[in-house]
Amino acid sequence: MAERTLTYAEAIQEALDQEMARDPAVCVMGEDIGVWGNLFGCTKGLLEKYGKGRVRDTPISEAALMGCGVGSAAAGMRPVVEIMYIDFISIAMDQIVNHAARWHQLSGGKVKVPLVVRTQGGVGFRNSSQHSQSLENWFVNVPGLVVVMPSTPYDVKGLLKAAIRDDNPVIFIEHKAVYRNKGPVPSEDYVIPLGVAEVKRKGTDLTIVANSWMVLHALAAAEELSREGISCEVVDPRTLYPLDEAVIAESVRKSGRCLVVNEAPAAGGWSGEVAAVVMERAFDKLKAPVRRLCGRRTGVPYDKDLERAVVPGVADVVREARALAGR
């Protein structure tokens, strides 16, 4: 029987649908997630199936929307709050950072905040500098949050289901450039544990650690480089925090070379964290300094070519990997 394929957006919809059917505490809230079914169709059909009580269109009011998610999670619901573009999350930061991330600890472990914040970032739609940012680094540095960035339809379904079942506030960052990508997604219920990396491609000469859309660039680059006789291993941590250090370290200890690819600017970011982990856990096996390939430290420009040019592309990964391999 042919493997079933879904788009990344459809896989999200299926995960939400399955979790809402499984657990009546799960609800979704956000701007235009009900009648519209989200910009990319990620919540299509849920309003009809589960009703207005569990599928709530909210005003354009991110502080209240997030506050509603945070409070309802602490009071026993399992809300999935959608922030339409990650850029808008700035309005809701106080609710996430000062409250959601603090209450479990401040209650001595009694209060849990099983909130999922679904949002999407990155370039791809010529949305310019207030709708295209990669802001994951903000959240990785906040104690009390889990940060997930899935790259494939299969992963997004399993990780979203895990995020909904997890008792922590989870920042679940999708990528606007991959919603229409298709891939195998089994219809059954499956969960991918948070905090567990996956080796997306085996290789021996160097390790590429990438996240989100950059994983797809890394895989395309690895394919191209294989024709030149360079064998790349591609590691997708999938969860940025807590980071699966063991899988990264194991890969780099074997290959001796590491390239980190992240769409966000490098300074002060997760890409540096990965590099530091490699230094701490694989330094004695390194044959070359760790390299980072990151987004430029700039606002994202409007022009189609320019917006692509300020973030890593496949050709950039190929170039960096080749240089790292010493070819």
Binding site: G71, Q95, V146, G195
Partner: protein, 325 residues
């Protein structure tokens, strides 16, 4: 009317407790055992006690950076408050929160030091109790200063359109830190801001516990029946500075004296004696009991240890997928 009298005696005792705790926190602060984040509540007791008089254990209270009065009125013990203020393990947040942010899960009590935030997250608690459908409500306390924040306006609007059971209680204590309210709030009455979202509201004398309790007794059943949010602005005053050590160069001693004459505890005491024939002796006994209980609670808290470093960094995350968190 017997129950009326016993209610008033309960309010009186609770207000005494609030004041006894605050009065002891001042010297503890001066000894550096409590930090600057302690915001005195003295003068505002009628608000906390009047509002919480209508609450049940299953109701949530969202408080502010000045939470001790609300917490006591919602049912926390004096010992718990002293312990949290002193950073001892007997506090609701095991002393890790301190004077202006803690979570008391057992009393459904949340507070924090970001002005205005509670108005937004109160909607979430309210959504949850609305869904349960058992008539529980959420009380959201905030100060005059919070009424200028985005969270305040966003939260009120959401509660109004979803008819969420939130009772908004504005403690208008005349100053946002050092700035007089009339200089920073454009509305003549803060309750008008609730009205602009279609939220029924009124302004009451926050120095009179019977007036606060009466307003709340009217609003709460209405909320429990699912009619949506309501707004009560209480006009009150904090006798001490915004924090202890506040230079208080923004107000006069005469002004403070004028408000002290409206003291909610003295006022109720006079009422009890004159209108309800409560004997001077029985009130003195009660006052002495509360003072003794407060002393005992303070001593007990001072005898507690502080959290260890290991304990202080626990519970940051619920363990994720079997990983060390």
């Amino acid at each position: 009317m017997a129950s009326r009298k016993s209610d008033l005696l309960k309010y009186y005792r609770k207000m005494l407790e609030l004041r006894a705790v605050d009065n002891r926190l001042v010297p503890l602060k001066l000894k550096d055992l409590v930090m600057d984040g302690f915001h005195p509540y003295v003068g505002e007791e009628a608000v906390a006690v009047g509002v919480c008089s209508a609450l049940r254990p299953e109701d949530y209270v969202i408080s502010t950076h000045r939470p001790q009065g609300h917490a006591l009125a919602k049912g926390a013990s004096m010992r718990a408050i002293f312990s949290e203020m002193l950073g001892r393990v007997g506090g609701p947040s095991r002393g890790l929160g301190g004077p202006m942010q803690w979570v008391d899960a057992d009393h459904r009590f949340f507070c924090g030091s970001i002005v205005g935030s509670g108005v937004s997250y109160a909607t979430g608690f309210a959504l949850s109790v609305q869904r349960e459908g058992k008539g529980a409500i959420v009380v959201c306390f905030f100060g005059d200063g919070a009424s200028n924040t985005g969270s305040f306006h966003e939260g009120m609007n959401l509660a109004a359109i979803w008819r969420l059971p939130v009772l908004y209680v504005c403690e208008n204590n005349q100053y946002g830190e050092a700035m007089p309210v009339q200089e920073f709030v454009s509305a003549p009455k803060i309750a008008a801001r609730g009205a602009s979202y279609g939220i029924k509201g009124r302004t009451v004398d926050g120095m009179d516990v019977t007036k606060v309790a009466a307003a709340v007794a009217e609003a709460v059943p209405w909320l429990r029946r699912g009619n949506g949010p309501a707004f009560i602005e209480t006009v009150t005053y904090r006798y001490r500075g915004h924090y202890l050590g506040d230079p208080e160069n923004y107000r006069t001693k005469a002004e403070i004296e004028k408000w002290r004459k409206k003291d909610p505890i003295d006022r109720l005491r006079r009422q009890l004696v004159r209108t309800w024939n409560v004997s001077e002796q029985s009130l003195k006994t009660m006052e002495a009991e509360v003072e003794a209980e407060a002393d005992q609670a303070q001593q007990a808290s001072l005898g507690e240890r502080k959290a260890t470093l290991d304990e202080a960094v626990r519970n940051v995350l619920v363990p994720v997928a079997g990983r060390e968190a």
